[in-house]
């Protein structure tokens, strides 16, 4: 286990692997690579690196797709990094190499469509996709809209008053915003309020362009003023930045895939949120002790990982 505080690729990837292992256990199953000549897989869900922190998102995504008849194995983990981490750390060449390796890994599955839940992966793979794309790479929100009739036919009421946090820094994010709103509007009973302060900056929150505290305060103040009970976020990074505000405002923060899941009667525990809302690293370590001790980790090893991944 590497020093989680060190700004190395080793530290980042090991943090992702270890926290992912502790939070998801055996529940989340994914392949890291596919053998040449393996059976063709029409759909695959790409599990990006930091989604390991929030395994309820890919678990629910996979179950939602199953409900509408799409069998979607998961391919991912750090072995299929899109290269955004390298770009964020100033290594554009390494980022490009990682993206091209990732695309090559997908090609071996001969898929029709690779689905993504991550805005960084969307942009990196789009940037380095061959001119004649060997498969369709799409944010999962596209499929939800394409399959909306099937989804609508099985959606049950979710009686909530919600505000949608969104990003519109480029056309891909604008498309996600529109898709997410379209699919959420299909959920019976869900009341979506118009807002002035729910827009994020940049492509997503938390890492590259975290929402500044004054804007974040304004968003949650507006939510309370409008009687909103749930803030819906489009991306896992937004989820990680904003969920801690549940400690200060009476507003639930949820990823939009959780809402779709709820409308289909699907539920997955939000382990990352539980750890963060303890608001105490020692308590978070204790919460995870039954999971890390059998794996041979010590509290001293796990504590810096939690500080870095959850209490950052």
């Amino acid at each position: 286990m590497a020093d989680a505080k060190a700004p190395t690729y080793t530290g980042i990837f090991n943090n992702v692997r270890t926290i992912g292992q502790l939070l998801a256990g055996d529940r989340l199953k994914w392949q890291t690579e596919l053998a040449v000549g393996a059976p063709s897989l029409p759909f695959m869900l790409h599990l990006s690196c930091f989604v390991h922190y929030t395994p309820h998102i890919p678990l629910l995504a996979q179950q939602i797709l199953e409900r509408i008849g799409i069998d979607c194995p998961i391919l991912g983990g750090p072995e299929n990094c899109c290269g955004a981490i390298h770009v964020h750390m100033g290594d554009a060449a390494l980022g490009e190499q990682a993206a091209r390796i990732g695309i090559g890994g997908f090609r071996r599955a001969r898929p029709t469509t690779i689905l993504s839940v991550c805005p960084d992966c969307d942009e990196m793979f789009a940037q380095f996709m061959p001119k004649i794309a060997p498969f369709r790479h799409s944010n999962i929100s596209e499929i939800f809209v394409e399959q909306l009739a099937k989804l609508e036919s099985i959606m049950q009421p979710v009686n909530r008053r919600v505000m949608i946090h969104s990003h519109d820094s480029n056309t891909q994010r604008q498309r996600d915003k529109s898709n997410i709103e379209t699919v959420l509007r299909a959920i019976p009973g869900l009341e979506i309020v118009e807002t002035k302060h729910a827009g994020g900056i940049g492509p997503h929150c938390q890492i590259l362009a975290p929402m500044p505290p004054p804007l974040q305060d304004a968003m949650f103040d507006e939510a309370v003023a409008l009687g909103v009970d749930t803030l819906i976020v489009p991306y896992h990074s937004c989820y990680r930045q904003h969920l801690k505000c549940e400690l200060r405002w009476p507003v639930n923060v949820q990823h939009y895939i959780s809402l779709i899941g709820e409308s289909l009667g699907l539920h997955e525990e939000e382990e990352y949120k539980k750890l963060r809302l303890l608001d105490n690293v020692d308590d978070a370590v204790e919460m995870l002790r039954p999971r890390f001790e059998p794996l041979g980790y010590t509290p001293e090893q796990v504590r810096p990982l939690i500080e870095w991944a959850v209490y950052c």
């Binding site: 590497a2 190395t8 080793t10 980042i12 692997r17 072995e79 390298h86 390796i101 890994g105």
Partner: protein, 117 residues
């Protein structure tokens, strides 16, 4: 049992390998050499996962990690990948009168200890 010195290829004086990753050409192609925890290790220049350039590896203890996806190889264990993935091909090294040698024979199992300490 150590093999005859004729099976060993000289890579250079040990002082050339004091820090960082050095690249050397051999009849088997390029290899990389690093000195970790007082010992010299020789290994393939690319990661067996995605072909990442291990000249940019991140060393820690007796391990090196590929910067592309974090595969980590324990050079003290003949290049085993610590997460259980494919291992890295490593080569035996040997110091003799201040010169570092490498053997390309996979059955040879020696790792040179630095005399610079």
């Amino acid at each position: 049992m150590a093999s005859a010195l004729t099976d060993w290829i000289p890579l250079g004086r040990e002082s050339e390998f004091v820090s960082g990753v050095e690249r050397r050409a051999t009849s088997a192609g390029l290899i990389l050499v690093i000195r970790l925890e007082g010992q010299f290790y020789a290994f393939d220049p690319t990661c067996p996962h995605g072909g990442g350039d291990l000249r940019r590896c991140e060393p820690e203890g007796s391990t090196i990690s590929c910067p592309l996806h974090g595969w980590t190889f324990d050079l003290s264990k003949r290049g085993d990948e610590t997460h259980g993935f494919r291992g890295l091909r490593t080569y035996a090294t040997r110091l003799c009168e201040g010169v570092l040698f490498v053997s390309l024979d996979p059955t040879v199992n020696e790792v040179a200890t630095s005399s610079l300490d």
